[in-house]
Structure formats: structure tokens, C-alpha cells
Symmetry: C2
Subunit: 321 residues, 2 copies
């Protein structure tokens, strides 16, 4: 795997680099679930998602001359918030390019972190972000397809491997593949017997199709927009993440929309953790077949859910504890 | 304070004793709140509340001959569940005496932990628990008024003092006073400049009245039953906890029912943590006047909330993040 864009040494170096700016999240035993499940609670990061790790690492690794001009990215979701947060922590300006129609609460939350929000038509996001980068001399921090972002995300696997022995399976939500690539690099190197299993909604299973076919396959946004797991609607995995996934991911499984919402409800009821649908994918996959995975770590990747959707999940999946 | 029933050495000893059976919960920065707030997330304990600490410690300290016969307590709430859990972990039987009318979900959850549940008329709970103790030779683990329970609860303060420097205030929910007594002993000894502030619902402010009057004042259950913070409906603080509170607690403040429910919603939305009303008291007090407390640790003491109440809190307190 020496030809991959990210090495385990990159992840190790990232860990020291970001330690002061991120929360070392707990690995929580989930005794309420059958089998042997542990939850890596990345929803407890300040911005509510693992994305902070990659953003902090990428900003720290920018050329100082570039960094002093600030950073720019395009994202209406957790990545945008993470970049805004990390830029503020680093004391540099941030520009977040968001599509028209982005939820006002997300725009306001990002502005509250001191970032400048630029609203453009959805299909012009990347172009505008790149122009901001050129004109203002800023550093671009892409949401997933960047070596420094990937190595930052991998740091959560390093913490996990310190906290728990003999892990059979790590379950990881998959969108663009940044998180699972970082985890894959760390786990395949430091605990090769541990299986790295990605989880996608059945409605947005482009990564599964890509790995099965050996090439990056894009899913139409008309298809992927149907899933409530909005963090996984990325149409296709990255050019950099895909070969890392091919080398380090054992399998990708899918879950239904009802399984996702049920996992959101179970996490709130039994683990007292608020998960967003994309963040609960890993737990949804586990609960659909706990006997498959042995001792399992499920990465709960984020918790930024619409409060009314959480209320609906709780009301419709009352379950029993 | 050398004449108190619990010393800081008791708490220190408890910490080593219970380390393998409880979660070392995270102390999470709450950057979403004004000022300087940190949350000690005891809702992430396996039973969803700090109660596990005292139960594990008290069971470990029973005479081995007694312990082998098992343990008994009376509680339909978090303490009963904690004793059931701790007994199972210690490999001994548990009898939990619950009042008629206890929620079926609570009865089932306790039975699922392997405990024997005995249902009796509400006014006979203590008597029946004591008779079980005598007849079956079991150890009684009271919910709060016991030195070993108090020293167990205090361990969360030890963790907090290791995790954060220069704490101005620790905010602690108050029911029978077991938690705040343990915290008070640890904090007054190890960080005397830190203020220990208790929080009660205005509808169940018997501890505040007791401290103000210098004697234990009981509030009628017809009054206290009106608060949604069911963990604080204890009519009066304990005989053992009261003098500890007198010696170590700086102040007790109260919050309204709306402030409690609003804090539950804020914790879910902004901290991605599920809190029960009693557990959110500390955060409710902080949010009502953050400028009063300086650098503050709020103990989020538990997360066992009725899912439909959580759904209601989320729907009625949408707030902004």
C-alpha cells in the first residue's frame, strides 16, 4: 500500500497536530445492544461531527503564507462548519460557499463561527470556491478528496485502537470516502486482522457499486437525494479516496431508510446520544445483523439532525429498552 | 470537616475500586453556550446515570458473606437500575422493590438486567426492602443516604478535577443529596476555591429550604410531584447527606419547569446529548445566568427520559443554535 496518497505515518503525525483542537471522543460500550458493540461518539465533537479532525489537520498543513490569507471550501453541511470552526481556532478568515436554498439555520450557524458565507447557485459551488481561492490567495480545504483531510479523519481510528483490543470489525459511514479512507489506512496497518466495513444507505450505494465494479461509479442526485442520510448524498467517491478504499476496505453493506431512522431512535433512547441519519448508518448496519461482525466498533460520525426529525424518529420508533 | 461521614480518602479509594465497572465519562466543552461551560456527561454511563458509581462502590464494600446472598434496594428509577446492573457485574442476585404503578418499561428494563422485581404498595417499599434484607441475608444499598454510595458518586468530581483546571463553579442536580455530597467532599478538599452549587426545581426545593433553615425540611409529595424532574422528587435530603451538604455546598439555586425542558432541548440540539429533566437541571441553571458562575462544570447526571417527552421538548423549544 506504499503507493497510496496517505500512510499510517501521516495519520500518526496528524494525531499530535490536532490534539489540542479536537475532543478525544469516548469509545462507549453499548451493552443495550446484542453481542459486543462499542460506539465511537464523534457526535460529541464541538461541531457535532468527525469533520473537525480533517479540517484542523488540513489547515495546519497549509503553507503559512497561504494560511495567513485564510481558507475556503464549499459545503452546506458538517464540513463547512468544521472549516469555519478550525479557521477561527487557527485565527484565520474562512469563506464557506453554500448553495442557494441551504437551510437558514446552517447559514446562521456558520456565520456565528465568524465565517463569511457566500451563496451561489448549486452547480457553481466548486467553481466559485476555486475562484475565491485564486483571487484571495486562500487555501482550499476540500470536503474529502485531499490527503491531509483523510489523514485527519483517520485519527479517530488511532484513538479507538488504543482504547479497545481485539476489534473484529469497524463499521464506518461512507459518503465521499474521506472518513473510511483514513480509518482504513490506520486499521489495515495497525490491526490488520480487523475488518473495515463501510455502510451506505441502499438509496445512495455508489461506493458499494464502485468497489464491486473496480471503478468510480456516480449515482444520479435524483436517486441519492431520496435518502434521509444527507451526508452520504455525494454522487461519487473521490479520486484520492477510491484507491485507498480499494486497498483497505473489506466490504460495503447497505441499510434501509427505516433501519437508519430506527438506529437514530435507539441511539437516543438507549445510548443517550443524538445522531444524525448519516451518523447512525454504522449502528443501523450492526443492529441489522449483530452476529455478523463480532466485537464491533461503530463510528457514530455526526449528530447534526433536524430536531423535528429526531422528534419524529422517537415518536415512530418507540421500541423497548 | 473531619467529623463528616465521608472523607476525600473514601472518594479516592472508591475511584480505584469502581474503575473497571463504570465509564470514565467525558468532560465536554460546550462552546455553543455563552461563557465557559463544560459538561460532565454522566448520561453516558451504561445505565444512563451517575448512580452506577455509588451502587458499584457500595456493593464492593459489603461484607463478602453478606454480598454472596445478594443485594436489595427500593427504587423505581435510576438507582434501582444501577443496583441491578452492579449486582450482575459482581455476580450476585439483586432484588429491586418497586411501587405499584411503576412504569412497565422500567420494570422490564430492571428484569432484563437479571434482577428480581418485587411490586408493593408505594408506602411499603422501605419496609419490604428491609424485610427482604433480613430474611434473605442480603445487603441493602440505599439510594443516597449511605457513606459508600456517597463516596462512589464523588468519583465523578475526581475525574473532573483531573480533566480541567481553574474551575470556578460546579453545578450539581440535587435530589436526596447523594451526588452533591460526594462532589462536595471531593471539591472542597481538592479545589477549595471552586464553588459547589446545587440545583433544584423550584417545585421541589426542599434542600434549598433545609440549608437556609439549618434543619432538614420535608416537602409534601403533592408539591414535589408537580416537577418533571422526577429524580428530585425526594421529599427530604438524607440524615447523612445533610451535614455534608451544610459543610461543603456553597449555595442551592432553583430553576423553572420551562427552563428545565428548554435545557433538555438545548442539550439534544447543541451538545448532541440526551438528558432527562433531573439530569439537565445543572445546565438549566447555567443558561439562566451564565455570567454568575465563571468557568463552570455542569454535571449532566442522567439521560433516562421518556422518548415522547424528549420529542415534545424538541418540538416546543426549537431555539436556535
Amino acid at each position: 500500500m506504499s503507493d497510496l496518497a496517505v500512510s499510517v505515518d501521516d495519520v500518526t503525525a496528524a494525531q499530535a497536530r490536532i490534539a489540542d483542537a479536537v475532543v478525544r471522543t469516548p469509545l462507549l460500550p453499548a451493552a443495550w445492544a446484542p453481542g459486543d458493540l462499542w460506539i465511537k461518539a464523534e457526535n460529541l465533537q464541538p461541531v457535532g461531527a468527525f469533520k473537525l479532525r480533517g479540517a484542523v489537520n488540513a489547515i495546519a498543513l497549509l503553507d503559512p503564507g497561504v494560511r495567513s490569507h485564510g481558507v475556503v471550501t464549499h459545503s452546506s453541511g458538517n464540513h463547512g462548519r468544521a472549516v469555519a470552526w478550525a479557521a477561527r481556532a487557527a485565527g484565520v478568515p474562512a469563506v464557506i460557499v453554500m448553495p442557494e436554498g441551504a437551510a437558514r439555520v446552517k447559514v446562521e450557524a456558520t456565520r456565528a463561527l465568524g465565517a463569511e458565507v457566500v451563496i451561489v447557485p448549486g452547480d457553481r459551488r466548486e467553481g466559485v470556491a476555486d475562484r475565491v481561492r485564486r483571487v484571495r490567495g486562500m487555501g482550499l480545504v476540500p470536503p474529502y478528496d485531499h490527503a491531509d483531510v483523510i489523514s485527519g479523519q483517520g485519527t479517530l481510528a488511532m484513538e479507538t485502537l488504543v482504547d479497545l483490543d481485539d476489534i473484529d470489525t469497524v463499521l464506518v459511514p461512507v459518503g465521499g470516502g474521506g472518513l473510511i479512507s483514513g480509518v482504513g489506512v490506520a486499521v489495515s496497518s495497525l490491526s490488520p486482522r480487523t475488518r473495515v466495513v463501510g455502510v451506505e444507505p441502499a438509496l445512495a450505494a455508489d461506493a458499494r457499486a464502485s468497489l464491486a465494479d473496480g471503478r468510480r461509479i456516480a449515482w444520479d442526485s435524483r436517486a441519492t437525494s431520496r435518502t434521509i442520510a444527507d451526508g452520504t448524498r455525494t454522487p461519487v467517491v473521490g479520486r484520492i479516496t477510491f484507491p485507498i478504499m480499494q486497498a483497505t476496505v473489506d466490504e460495503i453493506v447497505t441499510v434501509t431508510e427505516d433501519e437508519i431512522l430506527s438506529a437514530v431512535a435507539s441511539l437516543a433512547r438507549c445510548a443517550r446520544l443524538v445522531a444524525e441519519p448519516s451518523g447512525a448508518l454504522s449502528v443501523a448496519a450492526y443492529l441489522a445483523g449483530p452476529w455478523k461482525y463480532g466485537r464491533t466498533v461503530a463510528v457514530l460520525s455526526g449528530g447534526n439532525i433536524d430536531p423535528l426529525l429526531l422528534a419524529r424518529a422517537l415518536a415512530s420508533h418507540t421500541g423497548k429498552e
